[in-house]
Symmetry: none
Subunit: 217 residues, 4 copies
Amino acid sequence: MITKRRPSLKPRKVPQQSRAEHTVAAIREAAAGILETRGMEGLNTNLVAKRAGVSVGTLYQYFPNKDALIVALSLRQQAAFYAEAEGALDQPTGQTALKYLITVSVHQQLRRPALARALDFEEGRPAIAKELGTSKAAFQALTHRILARDDIPPQDNIEIATDDALAIVRAVVDAAGERGEVDRGALERRVGRALFGYLGISALDPAKSRARRKPSL
Amino acid sequence: MITKRRPSLKPRKVPQQSRAEHTVAAIREAAAGILETRGMEGLNTNLVAKRAGVSVGTLYQYFPNKDALIVALSLRQQAAFYAEAEGALDQPTGQTALKYLITVSVHQQLRRPALARALDFEEGRPAIAKELGTSKAAFQALTHRILARDDIPPQDNIEIATDDALAIVRAVVDAAGERGEVDRGALERRVGRALFGYLGISALDPAKSRARRKPSL
Amino acid sequence: MITKRRPSLKPRKVPQQSRAEHTVAAIREAAAGILETRGMEGLNTNLVAKRAGVSVGTLYQYFPNKDALIVALSLRQQAAFYAEAEGALDQPTGQTALKYLITVSVHQQLRRPALARALDFEEGRPAIAKELGTSKAAFQALTHRILARDDIPPQDNIEIATDDALAIVRAVVDAAGERGEVDRGALERRVGRALFGYLGISALDPAKSRARRKPSL
Amino acid sequence: MITKRRPSLKPRKVPQQSRAEHTVAAIREAAAGILETRGMEGLNTNLVAKRAGVSVGTLYQYFPNKDALIVALSLRQQAAFYAEAEGALDQPTGQTALKYLITVSVHQQLRRPALARALDFEEGRPAIAKELGTSKAAFQALTHRILARDDIPPQDNIEIATDDALAIVRAVVDAAGERGEVDRGALERRVGRALFGYLGISALDPAKSRARRKPSL
DNA sequence: AATGAATGAGCTTTCATTCAT
DNA sequence: AATGAATGAAAGCTCATTCAT
């Protein structure tokens, strides 16, 4: 069905009372739970409202349409992700920063793997992606800054490398989530190998790669 | 509603007349086209039928339900993929076999990138995955055999490695497809770096990795 | 198609506002009217909704599916029937109780004969019968208690006799309904003759049958 | 759905070759089998054709539409019934004739109870009833002649009595069929009691009722 | 005569969204 | 602000029937 006028996906109103805050949280959590257990095809606004213990009308008071719900969920997840990931910038080297990023990714994606995967897919839909633009840009900028560090081999096209890096991390972690893996350490090492390999950092001796590659520094 | 036996997702009848053969092809192509341009949410059986120039009834004559359409599309793509990929087994070494596999992946995924990505996602849905089991198993077996070659470092868990390898290839190629990349060579090199890195094959000197790693043999 | 949980045939939600109450009544009456005039083959949910002056969606808000409509109609009719029929237990003898039952049957079945006949048939469908189990059981229990009175000749198998008695009453009354009969008195007498004959009560002198049959008591 | 022009329900062509004869029989038997096991809602022309081992086109060659199939089934059953029932006319008295009729009814209805019941209902549909008019009339005439015998008490309205008699027999036998009864003797006795009671023949001493009622003869 | 591919009106059901209360 | 009854477009699917081969 073609939606006639597609209204903004931003929350309709900002909850100003704690009751409203609680309501919004309940709706969000209900949606997350459904997405997690039944996937996108099992998610419908009436069900979300019921699970949240509010009426549909109330849901539409805070979310102008269904997509806005997805956007809210994504935004919340990405915000949490970004908040943690920012710590990578404090790392001394690019490589430790990348490892930091991997740890954060694994941690976030494995907290609620099914939810994370469902959102990952929805974020690909143009209607959703559009709303997530700035959030994604922030993330890319962060990765970009890390990849630009001088212990990371220069990439042909750093934008592409950024995209690829995120895609690789996501792919391996999602596969792990699907399998129900819980051993984060092993997962982080696997992700690390793929990512460092991609970036051209020798897996054998990552700590010395800068020295080896740029001996004169 | 009365619970109906869930019909198999296999084609309902095998077309026996050439007219029917043509009809089935038209339906399949219409479905592929829609999936490509509008994604799963834009795919509906009435539209597929119309685009194929047949009536809905005809569509249901060959595909017992909507999912069966997806399955047929996936199966067809996987068959084409597998047919090409099998050539990897004729390669002299594991590493050349992997490269062969990457080339095939890139080639296949980049022919109709949007379609490939849409199918990749749908294949994750349990209802679809179930039907694709054997096809997927064949693919895993193939990859497994390559990873078991002795110029590929032994993996902790070869099943997981197989899964991860396929996920990594897919992730990078899908990202490229989303971006609209066309330079296959560059893409293959990037995929290769990630994959070889993951498997612990030095990107600097892949040809000698066996010798270096197992000097006493 | 994906197998869906077969939803219960019970009403989906109990109307809590008087508007809803009215809506449900309108739907039920529309369904009854259609069933009456066009039979089951003419009954479809879109038509019911239109005739009720509501949208299909509203119909499905109160009845999870088409069969639930039939069940609701049956239940309502049976409840009315049972409420009246219970009075039979207050009758002094088994025979007067039976006559009372016949009167009630004739009265109920002849109010809307076409509807009654249509429902009688639908109640035979397993899907419907299942939901009507307890209602039917109540009715059987009532008849059972009457047949067990001591002015009714003992039956070989009282369960069968109960079933048969109900079937006979229904058959004769339905036939009358089909013919468009309106003379209740004559109809009651005919039903009485069949039923009393079946039970082995002499039609010539029913009042004295107990004395005649069990003289030593 | 309203059928546009309702064509005659008579068989389109009379099979003139034995192969065609066989085909028609196969179709009829397939339809009967489906009606028996799945009821009217499970009966569809495509399925009938498949089960009969012919194409739908062939089915439509012999039966102009679905209803014609039902009519053919009914006609065949009624013909068999009537052929046997005619023997009743050779009975010496009305009462023995009635008993004969009951025996035949029980025999016929219990051969394929589910089929018989399904057809009984379908025969009530106006579209079908219309085609069965003469067959039904023959049956009524037969019953009429029996009821007019002078050892049967005169009925107020012999047409109604005829209808009622058939309805009563059918009701009790159908109930038995639904229950899965197989003891014909007991069933015949129960039917007899209801029918004789209805007609005002004393169950206590049926053999002498003529003498008692019409002593001067 | 037979086949079976094709048709398409029509049916059931869902669910995002609105709006009177 | 909240409710929840109501809406109705739209989707999936069936099946009686036709007709080219």
